[in-house]
């Protein structure tokens, strides 16, 4: 489909139109940008770098019910994700959309995860290209991504100054375009070429990089290498690197009961926590932060590509930006390369 023009004055009306769905946009909350459902188009904060917390929670909530039950009654009442309704995430960054397409592989591998996959099916992703790299620690281009990347997106918007270039990329995107057709205009001639050169400029502004070639194969051979102790010495085990990671997908399952009414729920977990692998016997196969850090890096850069043919990192840089003790995944990977 030919690209369209969405004038910035019409964005409010477009968001109004989309608010008949569950509409999720970036929102400024104190000093951080997060994704959440908005009631009023005014809440949308589209002129942002990247969100502090990735939008993965829209399809993989931080805590979600699997089923409910009443004590003493054998019936288990399955959570119906369909009730959440059609969802549009408007304005996410290409890296976060690409992360979803990477995590899709895990949730559809062998057993299909009905909760995650239903939400993915119900969700349309409208991306916003990074004309400027949002952070000094962005490195998406090292891992097959791009600040204008389209993977996982249904629509890509490019900020052209007074308007957005609106490119629909999938069937879902096409349906959205049709629905919004009264707000869209023909894109001016040469806009797509201009966007291509803007993409090259944006790529050139990304300063950090890693060559992942050979890392997946090399990592298992470094099992006993002293680098793991070195790179994890300062780790506090807080888990922020995994909570803010758009590809981290590990979860815990817990039962909760209050006054006879209960639910089994799953919630984000972190491989950086000691309890994550603790056996009931008291044995822990990953007893210290050294083993846990080794697993985090190896999972993303070796185990995941071995099974799913893709590195489970999109180079968003959040784990570097927000680590309280400045642990830097690129520095770790450089040590892996040099080891």
């Amino acid at each position: 489909m030919a690209a369209k023009k969405l004038s910035k004055e019409k964005v409010g009306e477009v968001l109004q139109e989309l608010s008949k769905f569950r509409l999720i946009t970036p929102v400024k909350s104190d000093d951080v940008v997060i994704f959440r459902e908005i009631a009023d188009p005014q809440e949308a904060f589209l002129d942002y770098g990247n969100s502090t917390v990735p939008p993965k929670k829209v399809v993989f909530p931080q805590t979600e019910t699997l089923f409910r039950f009443t004590l003493g009654n054998p019936e288990l009442r399955e959570k119906n994700v369909e009730e959440e309704g059609t969802t549009v995430i408007f304005g996410l960054r290409p890296c976060d959309a690409r992360a979803m397409s990477i995590v899709d592989k895990l949730f559809s591998w062998d057993f299909e995860d009905p909760y995650y996959l239903k939400r993915r099916e119900l969700t349309t992703l409208v991306g916003m290209a990074c004309v400027q790299p949002p952070s000094i620690n962005c490195f998406c281009t090292s891992l097959g991504g791009s600040p204008f990347g389209k993977e996982g997106l249904d629509v890509l918007l490019v900020d052209m100054g007074d308007h957005y270039l609106f490119q629909s990329l999938t069937e879902k995107g096409g349906r959205l375009e049709e629905m919004l057709s009264s707000y869209l205009e023909e894109a001016p001639a040469g806009e797509e070429e201009k966007a291509s050169s803007m993409e090259e400029e944006a790529k050139a502004k990304i300063i950090r990089s890693i060559d992942p070639q050979g890392i997946p194969e090399k990592l298992p051979s470094l099992w006993e290498h002293p680098l793991w102790k070195r790179v994890s010495d300062s780790c506090l085990g807080c888990g922020i690197c995994t909570y803010l990671c758009p590809t981290c997908h590990c979860f815990d399952v817990q039962d909760e009961v209050e006054r006879g009414e209960g639910r089994r729920a799953r919630m984000w977990d972190s491989c950086m926590f000691c309890e994550y692998t603790l056996h009931a016997s008291g044995h822990n196969p990953r007893p210290t932060r050294k083993e846990r850090t080794r697993n985090r890096i190896s999972h993303k850069y070796s185990y995941y590509p071995k099974r799913f043919d893709v590195i489970a990192c999109v180079g968003c840089g959040r784990c570097i930006n927000l680590c309280p003790v400045n642990i830097d995944i690129l520095e770790i990977l450089e040590q892996v390369v040099e080891a």
Partner: protein
């Protein structure tokens, strides 16, 4: 599509203690509340299931009955944590929930025509029991069956009556051990790896399957290699903390392997170069 997170309701038909003590082992014989579940339920020796109680939680256990035993599943569960303590409170007639079958299985078809040696320690006999039972129920399909089993004391032995029966029956060769000398113990005194050397099975056309505490496995593997068994003739099961049982929640991995989905059954050849498998 059946939601893989929703367990089946089941009824406990019988429950009995195998062993005494703080970490006692209790066996539960359970049947699905809805008989139609049996039409699609098709487990094989070595497979597991999540067993639990809504409001408490669920944990992964091997199914300790063979598919040749019809109309029920067996689970032998050691009391070690929150879920297992709650399950131990249950008795015949109580409701329990079962989700599965999960994971892979022992390649019983591939093993047809071969001699089988099982080497178990303590609760490690639970995943070996369906292998033994399956062979005994398909006796002509397999060669000699040698069962080696030990626990700390004779009271700590699981499936005592069944071992007595196997000792007498003549369709297998059964060797029992206790770690330390005790009165009136007519069998071997010492550790399972030592008993293995005493029995000294020939590797010729033979598969060895071992389950038990990590320290026992370590020395059993060494001794099997001394006896001439190659890594592809040796099978074991791995375990780790699990939550989903279907290869999503992440925690049970050893290297790139998810134990819940790719295991719990592995040949030694598959895991011997994965350091985390023995962590």
């Amino acid at each position: 599509m059946k939601n893989p997170y929703i367990p089946y309701e089941a009824r406990i038909l019988e429950a009995w203690y195998e062993t005494p003590g703080d970490r006692c082992i209790k066996t539960f014989k359970v049947a699905f509340a809805d008989e139609k579940v049996w039409d699609t339920w098709n487990h094989r020796p070595g497979q597991c299931a999540m067993v639990g109680i809504p409001g408490v939680g669920e944990s992964m256990f091997c199914i300790s009955s063979s598919p040749t035993e019809k109309g029920f599943l067996r689970f032998s569960i050691m009391k070690v944590g929150k879920n297992t303590s709650a399950i131990h409170e249950l008795e015949a007639g109580d409701t329990i929930y079962v989700r599965g079958p999960l994971g892979n299985w022992f390649p019983m078809d591939e093993w047809k025509g071969k001699n089988i040696v099982t080497i178990g320690g303590g609760i490690g006999q639970a995943p070996l029991r369906p292998v033994i039972q399956y062979i005994r129920d398909n006796r002509d399909d397999y060669g000699e069956l040698t069962v080696i089993y030990g626990a700390r004391t004779s009271a700590d032995h699981c499936f005592k009556d069944e071992f007595q029966d196997m000792m007498a029956c003549g369709d297998c060769c059964c060797h029992l051990a206790v770690d330390v000398e005790e009165e009136n113990w007519p069998h071997f005194v010492g550790f399972v790896p030592q008993l293995l050397m005493e029995v000294s099975p020939s590797p010729e056309n033979t598969i060895a399957v071992t389950c038990g505490p990590p320290i026992m496995i370590k020395f059993v593997l060494q001794n099997l290699e001394k006896l001439g068994f190659t890594p592809d003739q040796i099978y074991t099961t791995l375990e780790n903390r699990m939550k989903c049982g279907i290869g999503k929640c992440g925690r049970c991995n050893v290297g790139h392997i998810y134990i819940c989905k790719d295991g719990p059954v592995f040949s030694y050849a598959q895991i011997k170069d994965i350091p985390e498998a023995f962590a």
